[in-house]
Symmetry: C2
C-alpha cells in the first residue's frame, strides 16, 4: 500500500497568492465596472529587451538547422553562460568565484526549493520573519519544521529572526542553534538591505558554528546605493559557508523565460563533506538543463547593449518605486524599502491588520497589494506593494490611495 509524505499534509491552507487571486476574482465578478490595479505579485510587466529578443530569434534559428541544432544541454549549464556569469557577476566585483562553481537552472525559486535536499532532515533552519514562503514550505515538505501553530503562525522547529521597524528590518543573528540560515537581500518582502558589516557578522557566525548560509540575491540588480553588498562572496570567508542564488527574472524580466543560477563554492563543506559534488549529482539526476535558447539570451544580458537595456528597465521600475514611496510618505504612511529594491513595505494605518487593509484597498481604491502577515507573524499590520506595474497604473494606484486620505 503506497503511503503519502505526511509532511505535505501539515502545510496550512493554500498558497498566499492563491488566496489573493480568489479574493480579487470575487470582487471583480461583483464589480465588473471597476478597474483593478495589481501591485501585488512580484511579476514584471516590461517586455524582454530588444537585443535579447534578437538573440532569442537567432538561437531559435540554430535549433531549426541540422548543423547548429542543440540537444541536451550540459547538466550544469553551457560554458559560455557560466563564464559570462563568473566574469560579470563575480570577478568584476572582486569575488573569487569560478565558472565551474556555477550551476545554471530554470530559476532561483526551483533552486531555493530544491537545495534543502542535499542536507540531512535533522538540520534546524533559521529564516527571517517575514519571509518568502518557499524557504519554509520546502523544508516543511522534507519534515524539518515540526508542527504548525496556527495561532502564532509559526513552526515549532524553525528558528525565526524577526525583521521589524526596531531593527530596520534587518535580522539579528539567530538566538538559537541553527544549521541552515536563509537570507534574502535586498529583501523580499520588506525591501530592506543588509550592510556589508552586518552580513560579515552572519558569515563569521556560520564559520564559527559550522552553519551554511543560503543566500538569495534575486534582487541585487536593484541596489542603487554604494557600499551595499551585491553578493555574499564580498564577505571574507563566505566561500567556506555560503550558497548563493541568482535569478534573471527581476533584472532582465525572465519570469516567463525561466533562468537562474546557484553558486556552490568548491571550498564549501558540511561536516567535512564538500557540497559541490552533492548539488552536481542532484542536478544531474533530477534535472536536464535550461533550454539552449534561454541560456543564449542569458549570455546576451551581459553584453554591452544588454546591460544598457536592462539598466533602463530597472530604472523604469525604480521610478515607480519612488512614486509609490514618496506618494505614500507625503500622505502620512509609514513606508520603507523601495530605494534598493522594487518592494515598498508599509504599515497599515489606523490599527488595521494586513488582511483588513488588503480588503480596504481592494474595495476603496481597487488596488491589490500583498498582506504582510502572509509572509510571517512579524509581517502582521504591514503591506507590500511592488514597483513592477506600468508607470501609468502605478501613478493611478498611488493617486487613488492618496485620495482616500489617512
Amino acid at each position: 500500500m503506497a503511503k503519502v509524505n505526511d509532511n505535505y499534509l501539515k502545510l496550512p491552507g493554500s498558497y498566499l497568492f492563491s488566496t489573493i487571486g480568489k479574493k480579487v476574482r470575487e470582487y471583480s465578478e461583483k464589480n465588473p465596472d471597476k478597474k483593478i490595479i495589481r501591485l501585488g505579485i512580484g511579476d514584471v510587466t516590461q517586455p524582454i529587451a530588444k537585443s535579447l529578443i534578437k538573440t532569442l530569434h537567432s538561437a531559435v534559428d540554430e535549433m531549426g538547422a541540422a548543423k547548429t541544432f542543440k540537444g541536451y544541454a550540459p547538466d550544469l549549464g553551457y560554458e559560455f553562460l557560466r563564464t559570462a556569469i563568473a566574469e560579470n557577476d563575480y570577478k568584476k566585483r572582486g569575488c573569487d568565484i569560478s565558472a565551474d562553481e556555477i550551476f545554471v537552472s530554470d530559476g532561483a525559486k526551483c533552486d531555493c526549493g530544491n537545495i534543502q535536499e542535499i542536507f540531512s532532515t535533522d538540520n534546524v533552519i533559521a529564516v527571517c520573519d517575514p519571509v518568502y514562503p518557499v524557504y519554509v514550505d520546502s523544508n516543511v515538505m522534507a519534515g524539518r519544521c515540526g508542527d504548525y501553530d496556527e495561532k502564532k503562525g509559526t513552526w515549532s522547529k524553525v528558528v525565526y529572526m524577526p525583521c521589524t521597524a526596531e531593527n530596520n528590518f534587518t535580522p539579528e543573528l539567530p538566538d538559537k542553534k541553527a544549521d541552515l540560515i536563509y537570507l534574502c537581500f535586498p529583501n523580499n518582502p520588506t525591501g530592506s538591505v543588509i550592510s556589508k558589516a552586518k552580513l560579515q557578522e552572519f558569515v563569521d557566525y556560520a564559520i564559527k558554528t559550522g552553519a551554511v548560509i543560503l543566500y538569495d540575491a534575486a534582487y541585487e540588480a536593484y541596489i542603487s546605493e554604494e557600499g551595499i553588498p551585491h553578493s555574499i562572496y564580498e564577505c571574507e570567508g563566505a566561500r567556506e559557508c555560503a550558497i548563493e542564488f541568482h535569478s534573471f527574472s527581476k533584472n532582465a524580466g525572465f519570469t516567463g523565460l525561466r533562468l537562474g543560477y546557484t553558486v556552490v563554492p568548491k571550498a564549501l563543506k558540511a561536516e567535512g563533506t564538500p557540497l559541490h559534488p552533492l548539488w552536481a549529482r542532484r542536478h544531474g539526476t533530477k534535472y536536464n538543463g535550461a533550454p539552449y535558447i534561454v541560456q543564449k539570451a542569458g549570455e546576451a544580458v551581459y553584453s554591452e547593449e544588454g546591460q544598457r537595456e536592462i539598466k533602463e528597465q530597472i530604472a523604469y521600475y525604480m521610478k515607480n518605486a519612488r512614486y509609490i514611496y514618496d506618494g505614500l510618505k507625503t500622505c502620512g504612511y509609514t513606508v520603507s524599502g523601495g530605494v534598493n529594491s522594487p518592494y515598498i513595505w508599509l504599515k497599515a494605518p489606523n490599527n488595521m491588520t494586513s488582511w483588513e487593509f488588503f480588503d480596504y484597498l481592494l474595495e476603496n481604491a481597487n488596488v491589490v497589494g500583498t498582506p504582510g502577515s502572509g509572509f510571517g507573524p512579524s509581517g502582521e499590520t504591514y503591506f507590500r506593494l511592488t514597483a513592477f506595474g506600468s508607470y501609468e497604473n502605478t501613478v493611478e494606484a498611488v493617486d487613488r490611495i492618496k485620495s482616500l486620505g489617512l
Copy 2:
C-alpha cells in the same frame, strides 16, 4: 553544524554516461585521426520541425512587445497546452483524462525524479532490471533503497523485476510487496513493449494491493504496431492507481527545449489521500512553470502540420532502427527492440561482458553504444544502440560492426 543528506553518499561512482564520456574522450585523444560514431546516449539529432520553429519565432516576438509579453506562466501549465494534450493524447485514444489532471513541466526526467517526494520515505519501490537510472537514484537520495551491494549491483530494499530474454524483456509482477512500481514502455533500455493484457495485470495488482504505478511513456510515439497501449489509462482502473509521464523530447526533438508533462488523475489516492493536490502543491512551491515560448511550440506539435512533421522525424529515426536491427541480425547478432522503440538491445557476442563489448566496439569499429550492465545486473552481457543518429552515420556504424564479423 550543518549535516549532509547521507543517502547521497551511498550512490556508487559517477553516472553511467559520464563514464562513457570519459572513456570516449580518452580514446579520442590517443587516436585523433579516428572518426567516432556515437549511438550511445538517447539524444536526438534532427533539427526542430519547421512549423514549430515558426511558432517559436512568433512567441519570441510576443515576449518582445508590451501588449503580448508574458510573465510567470500558470504553475501547472498554460490552458491552451493542457487542453491540446488532453484532447490529442487522451480523449482521441478513448482515455478519460481531463486538462486539469495534466501538469506541464520542463521534462519527464525532472518529473520522474521529483515524483517520489510526495510519497513517504518508507514505501518500497519496484523497478524493472535493467532500468533507467533516474528511478532508482532519486529514491536512493530520499533514503528508500537501503544499502548497495557492489558485487550484485543491487539495493537491499528495492524489489527488482528482471527483464530477460526468457520473458521477452517484459517484467512479471513483483515477487515481493511493493508500494511504488516504476514501469517504462516502450522500454528504455531494452526497446521492448508491454501488451495491453499484461499491463492490465499490473493495474489489477496495484488496485488489489494499494500500490501506485509510475508509468513512463516517454517513447510512446515510436509504437508502430497495433494493439500496444500508448498510455496506461487505456487499461481499466488505471485512473485509480497510476501516474503517467510524457516527454516532448523524443517525439518532437525537444531535448534542448525542455518540455514534458505528468498526469495525476483526481481519482488517484494513497491511503485515502488524493495525490493530485500534493503534486500541485509540490509544483507550486518548487517550480515556476515552463517557458511560454516552449509551451507554444508544444501546442504546435498537435497541429496538423506539426503532426505531419514529427511523424516524418520519427520515421527517419525508425529507418535507422531498422537498419541497425536488420544489419546486426544478418550478421548473426541476437537483437531485440527497434520495432516500437528507437532502442536496439543486443547480446554481446563471444561471452563478452557489456563493458568488454563497449571497449571492443570503441576500439575496433569506433562506435559508441551503452553497456547494458549500466542499467542493472540483468543488463550484463547486453548492449544498447540508439536510432537517434543521422542516417549516414548509422549506416556507417552498422557496416563497420558487420565488417568485424562475429
